[in-house]
Symmetry: C2
Subunit: 307 residues, 2 copies
């Protein structure tokens, strides 16, 4: 088993969907990633920052779920990053209502000594300069996975290109892949991204599943068809957490094993969207995941005979 | 092996995509369905109508590809159905520029005596009254599959409900499934459609693949990721042709075998969209299909171990 370093926001979210709304609840990319890695029982650490307003019971919960939080800085006289968004009826589009960076504005990530030798690094969506700083603190990572978004393409292109060149896996959604490469076809987009540095590309398509590419192969995992998607917040981060959690657990970074990692990530994401915020992940048992993995097998596996 | 009856338009299409445009070329639902069933070498018949302007070499080609055309009426002094459409850059939306029903306006389908005992019937998108007339001519069909569209929901709801009640499989796209049921979730939509009569529901999501439902199970097949989608015209019909062609070939109408049928349909559709009109299907060899089926295996199959 390998160590897993998780970088990203730990935040307050306020969410409105057609099915309900929340006040400030626990959110943030690193939160979802760490909760999604939890069932794999890897040795993981969260590198992030919160303010003095962040409840200690949330910190305790993250520890209980298996994350080292010695790299989670608490700025006593600062406020925690806050995001508020509203989803439309189709759940595929959302409006950001509020973004308050707060303590995130001056975030300088520090990887704890005992995690500098981690093999797997999951860089959640953040300023590419922050992501780069974490890579530079690692001694010998075997698999660095980067998430990013259109905001950094618009506002920090050069720094984004530097960090993309240094990672093994880029995870990105379909529209962002198109913006990053100027290619409409996701196959063409993935090929162009691999020319930028990453050996593997994961393209997330939300309710339409996810694609994994390397230079020779492509693999597809659907999203689990659900009776209702309650709240998509954090689904992409949860997917990334399941993906990297599984890879850290198995220590096998081959394309063949990444297929399994994608399925585990998709399974974890399916729990995330069934409830508000992190609710679907906090109480999840390993046995729940196993049942859903069997559902994914039934959903996708066939036994065709060639004529 | 079972006989396959194919009902639908045989038409002229004029197509404009971001990659080019055609004059009047061979098109129509029954054309695509029959070409897609061809690699399975089933005993199939096209029930349709064309005008005196329909080239005899097209009729000859359909025969050469294995379809009985004794039920394909030629109205000597009539004109063939004509459709013209333009695709937008994303290829997921299109505008219909021209629809000339011509001989289709008075179409009375007649199933040849020798095909009344066919086990498999593929009812391509047409007026539900025409579809019903074909069902009533069959003596003992085992599997009747129906395609329809929003136009008939808007203009022939009652007749559509009558025919839906009589079929085993409804194939429909995602937006139409939502319109038909008032449910946004495709899982909920499929459950409601099964209450209308069909034991199986296939929901087509275009480039995002297709879902197969019965009351207990769900199966998903992705679309093959391609470097370029050249022309989506006929992809849905090609999918249906591969699906029913495979089922007629194997004579096994179980959910488990429908999984294989969906994959065969998806494979055939992937050839369709790679070229203009029917070009990708006319010259297709069985060995091409076999190669693509292996690609579908590689695209979707994984071997997960449960912890």
């Amino acid at each position: 088993m390998s160590k897993l370093v998780i970088v990203g926001t730990v935040a307050f979210d306020a969410i409105e969907t057609p099915f309900g709304r929340t006040d400030k609840i626990l959110g943030g990319a690193a939160t979802y990633i760490s909760l999604a890695a939890s069932p794999f029982e890897v040795d993981s650490a969260i590198i992030s920052v919160v303010g003095g307003d962040f409840p200690s019971e949330y910190l305790q919960m993250l520890k209980t779920k298996g994350s080292d939080i010695s790299g989670l800085e608490v700025v006593k006289n600062g406020k925690t990053f806050f995001w508020s968004g509203k989803y439309h009826y189709d759940m595929n589009s959302r409006d950001t209502l509020v973004t308050e960076l707060n303590v995130l504005a001056d975030f300088k990530p520090v990887v704890p000594e005992s995690y500098k030798d981690a093999e797997v690094v999951m860089l959640g969506n953040l300023h590419p300069g922050v992501q780069l700083s974490v890579i530079e603190q690692m001694t010998s990572p075997k698999l660095v996975m980067l998430d990013t978004m259109n905001f950094w393409m618009d506002n920090a292109w050069d720094e984004l290109m530097v960090v993309i060149r240094k990672v093994n896996v880029l995870v990105i959604n379909d529209e962002e892949a198109r913006q990053l490469t100027g290619e409409y076809s996701l196959v063409m987009a993935a090929l162009k991204i691999m020319e930028m540095g990453p050996k593997f590309v994961v393209i997330k398509k939300g309710e339409h599943g996810a694609l994994l590419f390397d230079e020779n192969d492509v693999f597809f995992a659907p999203a689990m068809p659900l009776k209702a998607v309650f709240d998509p917040t954090g689904a992409g981060d949860t997917f990334a957490g399941g993906f990297t959690g599984y890879l850290a657990k198995t220590g096998d970074y081959s394309f063949a094993n990444m297929k399994n990692a994608i399925i585990n990530g998709s399974a974890m994401a399916s729990f995330c969207v069934e409830k508000f915020g992190t609710e679907g992940l906090v109480d999840l048992e390993r046995s729940d995941l196993n049942k859903r993995l069997i559902q994914f097998k039934n959903l996708t596996q066939f036994d065709i005979e060639l004529a």
